[in-house]
């Protein structure tokens, strides 16, 4: 087996975000690290929308980022700390829209190691040096400068190592132009390591500082120094100055535990016009504003007050345009706009002056505030994020062309159930009903330089309706359009004229309402027409083409000759008139003899056939369009001919702008109906709307062509639409309605429907008869509703009073109050995915938490499907223990929307894996594997084996074979012996693996993933498999001797690959109609990808060679070696990285040529092969 890995959706998590002037303009941009990817975002100051400018796969783990600016410069560089053992300095190139690597200096081994720097980065605010640090010991300082040609230079590193120290954080101090100073929070462990009595340990432990927030402005702007955050306190520190301390205000909540420390997780300093302040965020999500009271460089006090509550951030960024970007640790990332700076509200403020008296012993919980809704911030935009993606299923419940992905996302009260559909999200602006079923719709401007459209023209079977666009859309009759006939085409012609083509003629409506009519000769009618601003082509019945062109006086002139075409014309297209030209040079004619001909419109050889392309079905629609992809230089795109066929296939061919020849054809199946094509404008660039049984959009995004379905109803006809309310939209017909919609969020692969959950989801299962999902959620460290009541009651009994409003805070925003470790809240929920709602929900009480779920068809119960849920009481995370486990058996109600508890069965450990097995239940309870049967009062244990080393996390079965996945020890193959009712393990793996998810590929093969981000496939040798199955008595495998301290046989690893994300689910499925079976995976960071099996040896050789060249020609951005990265824990085996191969499209032309020569192909052929690999099996 040989697989090709492709990412469908890159990770959606953000671990670092930094803000700076990366393009060197006034506008600020945000660079975010999505762990394996670097992305550049721009916040539009007017609309407040975030826009992705560039995303680039780095094939490595980006651990830290920092912007860096040389003194006097106006452009920021990006310094990247990663797992590469190298420091990398990048520069954003706005013209080519890419990151350029300016410097790459190696300092150590690769990998995320203890003493290899990369975890921390700190720069001198004056842009003179950068420090890169490791978690332990090593710190290197590089001096950055510019040479005579103003290029950035980097020195050799200065070592600032300190043995036996752990580093929590480091930053650069603002000291003006004095020597650069870096502040590091270090813990020295040399004494604690040496002292067996523990005194040294205790003294080291005294104050747990963990983070330094960015330093104060120094020099002339401020007093310099740092804010150091520790559990419950924030401290101001500076050299030779007494420290100042304030407690972190806590939420007023009757359920809070005052002994639990509160820490600051993120912070940002903002400086404007001589004043500055800090925004610090606590682990609950509350933002505090910290200000300083100082004279010259003497600080009198620090002050803190509550600001607002937003999701817990990995990074906070303040933009000068008045935005706060919150890169959330989990869940969607958000952009907020500041409505005020919180200066003059009546929030209480605490000052360090109040806590000066006795030096160290301020009680932790002294400052309390009342959390409230946003007061100073307003949500401007949101970036959807699946992180953490806990579990997913690929199913086609709605019988669409492609299956949907059902995913469990999120942690805590922000958890969600998401339905992901492949397609672009659209925002519908208007739906209006029409008197009948129209055939076609157009919009038109009145003059060529108008900004917005004036009319919508709708054509019916025997009439044409003209609507004017204004505040409302109304019918108008005095436009010059002929209303008593259907219309074939409408276009704005020349400077200020309009054109209507109808079956009997052409109406040329001048600006002064004069109408020139051209009537068809004899009884012939116009069947097809194509127009642009200056040219008109019509096809008459019988296959005759008539060509008109606008002259300089605005007169439409017929070309003297007509062109006879031997067969019937089914479609026509002329491209737009290129900038600065008189005419479009090509006419495309589609005929029912399954061919498309390109005709010249040049004055020298008008209507001469230039080239012909044969097709496998009659063409339905054509579109000549210039797309701004990276084919040639940036100002010009590639001219494409799109051909929609009647069998639902879309062909895209490159049309040579000089010869008119057709090359490099790509094809894609869009749906079951003939494909109709319409030219529209998306983000100012031309795009094609392709309508089949579902609408698709072919557009350019980040200089790449994308063909993506729209998540919308089937449409009949479409046209561009612009109005003051909808600057860029599409008007379309669906049955008897007119729809106006806009397409946003370009570049996204999935559109999401979201259902809110209460606690961290664990697993879910489909109840297939009702198509409802059953989700189990359990949350550590949280009060269950009953426990909450009990605790509150106890407080009331103690005589405590509290404001009941404090308990009414919305948990999605403020989270649930933390209880102590070992407390659990958990529930079962039934979700109807079609209605998007929860139909029923059951909370577990008595500190139980649900961990596993399955549906079982117990034999002897007439196909009734039972739900089995495995829970644990008083579960403890480390070591993994519980006081009792339970197996609950539920019956579904008739409509599958409710549950009825049948009985519960005790067991001695946590049941983590459940599976239906031959009309019974197979349960992994701790290290025991059991078979249960359904009894009247409880489940009856029928069979048990305890030969699994640690804990069963996953089970699969086929026939009598059972594959058992252990938490640490990889997979075990077992056989169930029916006649003596025994489960015998006969094969296991030689590699220990911390399994997260697995899928059985066939009877002998299993694909799985582990906690370190590896993907592997294990296979049982065929002879072993046969031997085991053909052993009638079972005595042979039973008495066989173990091998290497395990089972007698071993599985062999046939494939290995480091994905770089912990895979949480694996599925064997197809994603496109008629495509082959592939493996789909989801990762915890929100990654969704596929493994596609290769079909031929030639393809394997081709892609392996291409991958090898790509490794040499396009080394990863963060400095990691690609081969080493994919072999992070074990050498990569039998997998080609498609994401790297796809970067071929980003290479400059000469490199593309060079690689193509090596492979004996043309660049276009290589690009086609790469594209085919994706579109044939996935999207």
């Amino acid at each position: 087996m040989f697989l090709y890995n492709l990412t469908l959706q890159p990770p959606t998590t953000i671990n670092v975000a930094v803000v700076g002037h990366f393009s060197g303009t006034k506008q600020q941009e945000i660079v975010v690290s999505r762990v394996t990817r670097l992305e550049l975002l721009k916040a539009d100051p007017n609309s407040g929308k975030l826009q992705t400018l560039l995303t680039h796969d780095a094939f490595g783990i980006i651990r830290s980022l920092t912007p860096f600016r040389l003194t006097g410069s106006s452009k920021d560089y990006i310094i990247v700390g990663s797992d590469s053992g190298r420091i990398v300095i990048l520069e954003y190139n706005p013209i080519k829209n890419k990151f350029d690597k300016v410097h790459q200096e190696t300092f150590g081994k690769s990998g995320c190691r203890r003493i290899v720097p990369g975890q921390y980065l700190a720069v001198d605010p004056k842009g003179r040096s950068v420090m890169i640090g490791a978690i332990e010991k090593q710190k290197l300082v590089y001096i950055l400068n510019r040479d005579s040609a103003a290029n950035l230079t980097i020195s050799s590193p200065l070592e600032a190592h300190k043995s036996h120290t752990l580093v929590h954080h480091c930053i650069g101090l603002d000291v003006g132009y004095e020597n650069p100073v870096f502040a590091c929070l270090e813990v020295d462990y040399s004494d604690a390591d040496m002292d067996p009595t523990g005194d040294a340990f205790n003294s080291t432990e005294k104050v747990k500082y963990h983070m330094i927030s960015s330093g104060f402005p120094g020099g002339n702007d401020g007093p310099s120094g740092v804010l150091v955050c520790s559990e419950n306190f924030i401290t101001y520190k500076h050299q030779r100055v007494p420290e100042l301390r304030i407690p972190i205000p806590r939420r007023r909540n009757p359920l809070e535990d005052p002994s639990r420390g509160l820490i600051i997780v993120a912070g940002v300093m903002h400086k404007m016009k001589g004043v500055f302040f800090f925004l610090l965020q606590s682990e609950e999500g509350d933002i505090y504003k910290v200000t300083l009271d100082y004279e010259d460089d003497r600080v009198n006090a620090i002050k803190i007050k509550y600001f607002d509550t937003v999701p817990v951030a990995a990074s906070l960024c303040i933009l000068r345009a008045g935005f706060l970007f919150v890169a959330a640790e989990f869940g969607n990332h958000r952009l907020y706009s500041f409505t005020s700076l919180g200066d003059d509200n009546d929030e209480p403020e605490w000052s360090s002056e109040d806590f000066m008296d006795d030096d160290k012993d301020i009680p932790a919980a002294v400052a309390y505030f009342t959390p409230r809704d946003l007061q100073n911030l307003e949500r401007a935009d949101e970036l959807e994020s699946l992180n953490p993606l806990v579990d997913a299923k690929v199913l086609n419940l709605t019988d669409d062309d492609t299956p949907q992905l059902y995913a469990l996302c999120g942690r805590g009260a922000g958890s969600t159930f998401r339905i992901l559909r492949h397609g672009l999200e659209i925002s519908e602006m208007a739906v209006s009903e029409l008197p009948g079923n129209p055939n076609a719709v157009w919009t038109t401007k009145l003059k060529s330089d108008d900004e917005f459209d004036a009319y919508i023209i709708v054509s019916f079977v025997n009439a044409t309706l003209v609507l004017s666009i204004g505040e409302t859309v109304e019918e108008v009759t005095d436009t010059g359009f002929l209303a008593t006939t259907p219309t074939l085409d409408v276009h704005q012609l020349g400077d200020d004229a309009l054109l209507q083509i109808y079956p009997q003629g052409i109406r040329h409506i001048r600006a002064d309402r004069r109408v020139n009519e051209w009537k068809t000769p004899g009884n012939r009618a116009i069947v097809k027409a194509a127009t642009n601003k200056r040219q008109v082509v019509i096809a008459l019945t019988g296959g005759e083409l008539v060509y008109f062109e606008l002259d300089s006086r605005g007169q439409l002139n017929e070309y003297q000759e007509r062109k006879e075409i031997s067969s019937n014309v089914t479609c026509l297209s002329v491209g737009e008139v290129p900038e600065g030209r008189q005419r479009s040079r090509f006419l495309a004619v589609g005929c029912d003899d399954n061919a498309v001909r390109i005709l010249s419109l040049d004055p020298d050889n008008t209507l001469e056939v230039l080239s012909t392309q044969g097709l496998n079905a009659p063409p339905q629609s054509l579109s000549i369009i210039e797309m701004m992809d990276i084919g040639t230089d940036a100002s010009h795109g590639t001219l494409y001919l799109n051909i929609g066929l009647q069998n639902g296939v879309l062909l895209r061919t490159v049309l040579d702008t000089i010869t008119g020849s057709l090359t490099d054809t790509r094809q894609r199946f869009l749906g079951a109906r003939p494909v109709k094509l319409f030219q529209v404008t998306i983000q100012g660039a031309p795009a094609v709307l392709a309508l089949s049984s579902r609408p698709w959009l072919s557009y350019t995004f980040q200089s790449r062509l994308h063909l993506t379905p729209l998540s919308y109803d089937m449409l009949e006809y479409g046209s561009n639409f612009t109005s003051p309310q909808v600057p860029e939209g599409i008007v379309a017909i669906s049955a008897n309605t007119l729809r106006i919609f806009a397409v946003e969020k370009l570049g996204t692969v999935f559109n999401q429907a979201i259902i809110q959950l209460n606690y961290t989801p664990r697993h879910f299962i489909l109840h297939s008869p009702s198509r409802n999902f059953v989700v189990i959620e359990s949350e550590h460290n949280t009060y269950s509703p009953m426990e909450k009541q009990r605790t509150l009651q106890a407080k009331i009994n103690e005589g405590k009073r509290f404001d009941p409003n404090l308990l009414e805070l919305s948990p999605e925003i403020f989270g649930l109050p933390k209880a102590e470790p070992g407390k659990w809240a958990s529930c079962i929920r039934i979700i109807n995915p079609f209605l998007g709602e929860t139909t029923s929900k059951y909370e577990f009480e008595e500190n139980e938490a649900a961990f596993s779920i399955t549906t079982v068809n117990f034999h002897g119960h007439n196909n009734e499907l039972f739900l089995v849920v495995g829970t644990a009481k008083d579960a403890n995370l480390a070591p993994r223990t519980c006081s009792l486990g339970y197996l609950y058996v539920y019956q579904f109600s008739a409509d599958g929307s409710d549950l009825n508890l049948l009985h519960k069965t005790q067991c001695d450990d946590i049941p983590l894996a459940l599976l239906p097995f031959q009309g019974r239940l197979l349960a992994g309870v701790g290290k025991a594997l059991r078979i249960y049967d359904l009894g009247k009062r409880k489940l009856l244990r029928k069979c048990e084996t305890k030969a699994i080393p640690n804990c069963i996390v996953n089970l699969h079965t086929q026939g009598n074979r059972i594959i058992i996945c252990d938490m640490q020890e990889s997979v075990h193959y077992a056989s169930y012996r029916q006649h003596d009712n025994r489960i015998i393990i006969f094969a296991d793996d030689t590699t220990p693996r911390w399994i997260t998810s697995t899928v059985m590929i066939d009877y002998d093969t299993i694909a799985g993933a582990d906690k370190f981000g590896n993907f592997f496939i294990n296979r049982l040798p065929a002879e072993t498999s046969e031997e085991v199955d053909e052993d009638p008595t079972g005595n042979k495998i039973m008495y066989e001797k173990g091998y290497l301290m395990g089972a007698p046989h071993k599985v062999s690893m046939i494939l290995h690959y480091h994905v770089g994300d912990i895979l949480t689910s694996l599925h064997r499925t197809t994603l496109v109609a008629g495509g082959r079976e592939i493996l789909v995976y989801t990762g915890i960071m929100g990654n969704i990808g596929v493994f596609v099996p290769f079909l031929t040896r030639e393809d394997i050789d081709f892609f392996q060679t291409l991958e090898m060249h790509m490794r040499n020609e396009a080394p990863p951005l963060a400095g990691r070696d690609h081969l080493q990265y994919r072999s992070f824990y074990a050498p990569v085996k039998s997998v080609v990285d498609g994401d790297l191969c796809e970067q071929y499209n980003l290479l400059p032309m000469e490199k593309k040529k060079m690689i193509a020569d090596e492979l004996d192909r043309t660049p276009a052929e290589i690009q086609k092969k790469i594209e085919d690999m994706r579109v044939m099996t996935a999207f």
């Binding site: 998590t13 671990n15 762990v35 783990i61 651990r63 797992d83 990998g111 995320c112 190691r113 203890r114 003493i115 990369g118 975890q119 490791a134 978690i135 332990e136 010991k137 752990l166 580093v167 929590h168 813990v187 462990y189 604690a192 390591d193 040496m194 067996p196 009595t197 523990g198 340990f201 432990e205 747990k208 963990h210 983070m211 820490i263 997780v265 993120a266 682990e283 817990v312 990995a314 640790e329 989990f330 992180n387 953490p388 806990v390 942690r411 961290t760 949350e779 550590h780 460290n781 949280t782 933390k818 995370l877 906690k1011 370190f1012 981000g1013 994300d1061 912990i1062 990762g1083 915890i1084 960071m1085």
Partner: protein, 83 residues
């Protein structure tokens, strides 16, 4: 000839790479190094630290902070060396 050289090479390795063993490494020291290496790796791999944070229902920063704290003394009090 190499014996002397080997020793100095070893010493160099031991000073450069924290956790390199020597003839007198005891079980406790070995274990401490193993744990410190592991925690450092957990902190470095964002996916792994997210995994822990989701399981524990804590923020990623809190988990990171606690891991660095644990690196100070991952295996409890040091065992007195028998001289």
């Amino acid at each position: 000839m190499d014996r002397f050289n080997l020793n100095s090479q070893l010493e160099h390795l031991q000073s450069k790479y924290v956790g390199t063993g020597h003839a007198d490494t005891n079980k406790f020291e070995w274990m401490v190094n193993q744990h410190r290496d592991s925690y450092a790796s957990y902190i470095g791999h964002h996916s792994l630290i997210s995994y822990f944070a989701v399981a524990q229902n804590e923020s990623i920063s809190r988990v990171k902070f606690e891991f660095v704290e644990k690196m100070l003394q991952p295996c409890g009090l040091p065992v007195p060396r028998d001289e």
